[in-house]
């Protein structure tokens, strides 16, 4: 994925939005004065929230925020893929289907009729799915939201022609490096850190609270052991399921962990 850029001039970059809260795009818009530096190094071809509108021109890198959740999204993501040399999925929606993935498996067409008096005008797929379910994704950046430093690290890697670094280790490793007391060991709080992907810098434990898994599953996550630990701490089966079924509910590892508990409890 590090072939040289073929056209002359600055690398062309697009930022596309699908179903999301817009929060991952803010990793760019919240860069402060660095945003102007970035704009000097790349050619921002398409980034609707920031102004540039050109979803047609071929780009070197497309950052995609959001999940696929409507029939029109299906067409659009194929179009984006066809016009992008590299496609990078950013954030929980794009990598796992996001919080709106909580509707998967329980979506009922009645939801639409209960909310909207003109349901025929609403197009919504039954499932909210990550970008990689539909097209080839070159790199996934997990997190709800991804952070500015994470995004800049990816952009800088690409500008230098190297593959971005993928840190799939656990939040616990970041927590230990920062020297935060373990909230589970010292205070008995049901923390998702042992199975959650690093990247945030252990923000929740820094405030003395539980990690709630917003960066998705880490590699080699032992969800069974953690679920058993939660049960020993007094969480009901429903509460344990909800720990895994939150921001990244459709990430396969978290979905399997929740399903296992549901089956054990004949839910």
């Amino acid at each position: 994925m590090n072939a040289p850029i073929e056209h002359s001039g600055k690398p062309r970059v697009a930022v596309h939005k699908f179903s999301s809260c817009d929060g991952c795009q803010l990793a760019f818009l919240n860069l402060g004065e660095d945003l102007l530096t970035l704009a000097g190094r790349v050619d921002l071809v398409h980034f609707a929230e920031a102004g540039p509108l050109d979803p047609v021109t071929d780009v070197d890198v497309a950052f995609v925020e959001g999940s696929v959740s409507t029939p029109e999204d299906l067409e659009r993501i194929r179009h984006v893929r066809a016009h992008s040399r590299l496609l990078i999925a950013i954030g929980a929606c794009a990598t796992s289907g996001g919080i709106q993935g909580l509707r998967n498996g329980v979506f009922d067409a009645q939801w639409v009729t209960q909310i909207y008096s003109h349901p025929e005008a609403i197009a919504s797929l039954e499932r909210s799915t990550p970008i990689a379910s539909h097209v080839k994704v070159d790199f996934e950046l997990w997190g709800c939201p991804v952070s500015g430093p994470q995004m800049l690290a990816v952009v800088n890697s690409l500008l230098l022609g190297v593959a971005p670094r993928d840190n799939a280790d656990k939040v616990c490793t970041e927590c230990k490096r920062q020297g935060y007391p373990c909230v589970m060991v010292t205070r008995g709080i049901a923390c998702m850190g042992p199975v959650t992907r690093a990247g945030c810098g252990a923000l929740c434990p820094s405030l003395g609270r539980d990690c709630y898994g917003c960066y998705g599953p880490a590699e080699n996550a032992n969800t069974g052991a953690l679920a058993a630990q939660f049960a020993r701490q007094g969480l009901s089966p429903q509460a344990v399921v909800q720990r895994f079924q939150s921001i990244n509910s459709q990430a396969p590892v978290f979905l399997a962990a929740a399903d296992k508990i549901r089956i054990q409890n004949h839910d």
Partner: protein, 433 residues
């Protein structure tokens, strides 16, 4: 001037520089507007459905995800509603810090909107990067102010997008005195920058476009309302948050995935200009002085004053944060204990884009039975369409298509619509007649 009668069809498939996905359809036939629709097609996310069954401890983290630009508004409104139901009396520290935290979001969101979304229109630029070439100092100043807002949110929430610090009963943690002293220095240094921003915003020429409309905002007896207050209307109505449903209604129109709101069957305005119209007498003296200097006469009936209103509110938020952080002490505990109970709770605060109302029905284990959330942009949607129609007639339909399109976009951006918010709050509702 003779009016040229002609037919125009303008279709803006994707509105740039707004949060979320919307489009505009305008049809003019024989010199009359025959169709004008702000179409919102941001996919529905069914938030209120999947809040059902969730424990109250999760709600601040879940509702934040409705909007990446104003997560604090959602977290604080939800916490306020649940604290009222559970009979929680916040400590004076937590009460003050909720307002400081919220000031951070106003500073961030307003500065982002002024510089990255709205201002380029008034300088003939298509985005902030172009604007930075002709007004580099102003854009850089704006980005610095935005960064300071983010830093203020970081203090209490560890990050500014989907912060993790709010819990029902207070905050999870309290910033150290050293960090507070550092941010106070920055806030103080930003005051002259924010004053210069107001002076700059006041020099930007705007169309004269007075319209009659109803303003709605939260109101507090003493302070400029942000995180708490009753609901005030420019016609004199002043109600508690529980009475919202008796006066405001939502309905669905086929061209939108957001619900439209009305007040006594009329469109109404929420947001910075509505707040200034209703609450400007409660501004601190130094902010009042700048407001007077800017020449903005209140109440204003011209939505093009919204950019200046945001600049004024940035200065207000800086002053409020400084005032509340004066004499800061780390509390013994950043939160108070309580026992959840069943019942119905409502909450209401001023998101950067306007009034945000939540209602939760909870069971006796502290789980959500049902939830309803009414965000500011769906409340403004009706008003935006009305404004577009009036503003276009005032502007003149004989302008070239590009000028009509730009004018429409400027009108829409005055409201800083957050389309992500508007559709992410879809509540259970059957059409009411």
């Amino acid at each position: 001037m003779t009016e040229q009668l002609r037919s125009v069809a303008i279709h803006v498939p994707v509105l740039a520089r707004v949060e979320g996905e919307g489009a505009l359809d305008l049809r003019v036939e024989d010199g009359d507007i025959t169709q004008l629709r702000l179409r919102i097609f941001e996919p529905p996310r069914f938030f209120e459905k999947f809040l059902e069954g969730r424990h109250y401890t999760e709600i601040p983290d879940l509702v934040a995800r409705i909007c990446g630009i104003c997560p604090v508004a959602y977290q604080v409104t939800a916490a306020q509603a649940l604290e009222k139901l559970f009979g929680v009396e916040l400590s004076p520290w937590a009460h003050a810090m909720r307002r400081v935290f919220y000031c951070g979001e106003w500073i961030q969101s307003h500065s982002l909107h002024i510089h990255l979304l709205a201002a380029p229109d008034f300088f003939g630029c298509s985005n902030a990067i172009e604007l930075a070439r002709i007004a580099p100092d102003e854009v850089r100043r704006g980005l610095r102010i935005q960064t300071l807002g983010n830093e203020l949110m970081d203090l209490f929430g560890a990050r500014s997008v989907h912060p993790v610090g709010v819990r029902v009963g207070g905050f999870h943690g309290a910033p150290s005195l050293v960090r507070i002293q550092a941010i106070r220095e920055k806030l103080r240094a930003a005051l002259p920058e924010a004053e210069a921003l107001i002076r700059w915003a006041a020099t930007i020429p705007v169309p004269q476009d007075d319209q009659d409309f109803v303003s709605v905002a939260t109101q507090h007896p003493i302070d400029y309302a942000i995180e708490t207050g009753s609901i005030a209307v420019s016609d004199g109505l002043n109600i508690g948050t529980d009475a919202f449903d008796a006066h405001f209604a939502e309905q669905h129109v086929p061209h939108s995935t957001a619900l439209f709101s009305t007040y006594h069957d009329q469109p109404y305005l929420v947001g910075p200009l509505a707040r200034l119209n209703l609450n400007h007498e409660r501004l601190p003296e130094p902010v009042k002085a700048l407001l007077t200097e800017s020449g903005l006469a209140l109440p204003s009936r011209n939505l093009f004053h919204s950019l200046l209103a945001r600049a004024v509110e940035i200065l207000l938020a800086l002053h409020e944060a400084l005032r509340l952080l004066d004499g800061y002490r780390v509390p013994d505990s950043p939160w108070v204990p309580f026992t959840p109970r069943a019942g119905v709770a409502t909450g209401c605060t001023e998101a950067p884009r306007g009034l945000l109302w939540h209602r939760y029905e909870m069971d006796d284990e502290g789980r959500v039975v049902n939830a309803r959330i009414v965000p500011p942009t769906s409340q403004n949607q009706r008003r935006i369409e009305e404004d577009l129609r009036l503003s276009l007639l005032n502007f003149g339909l004989d302008h070239p298509d590009d000028a009509l399109r730009l004018h429409c976009e400027k009108v829409i951006r005055n409201y800083d619509p957050c389309i992500s918010c508007a559709t992410h709050f879809l509540r259970m509702n059957v059409e009411r007649t």
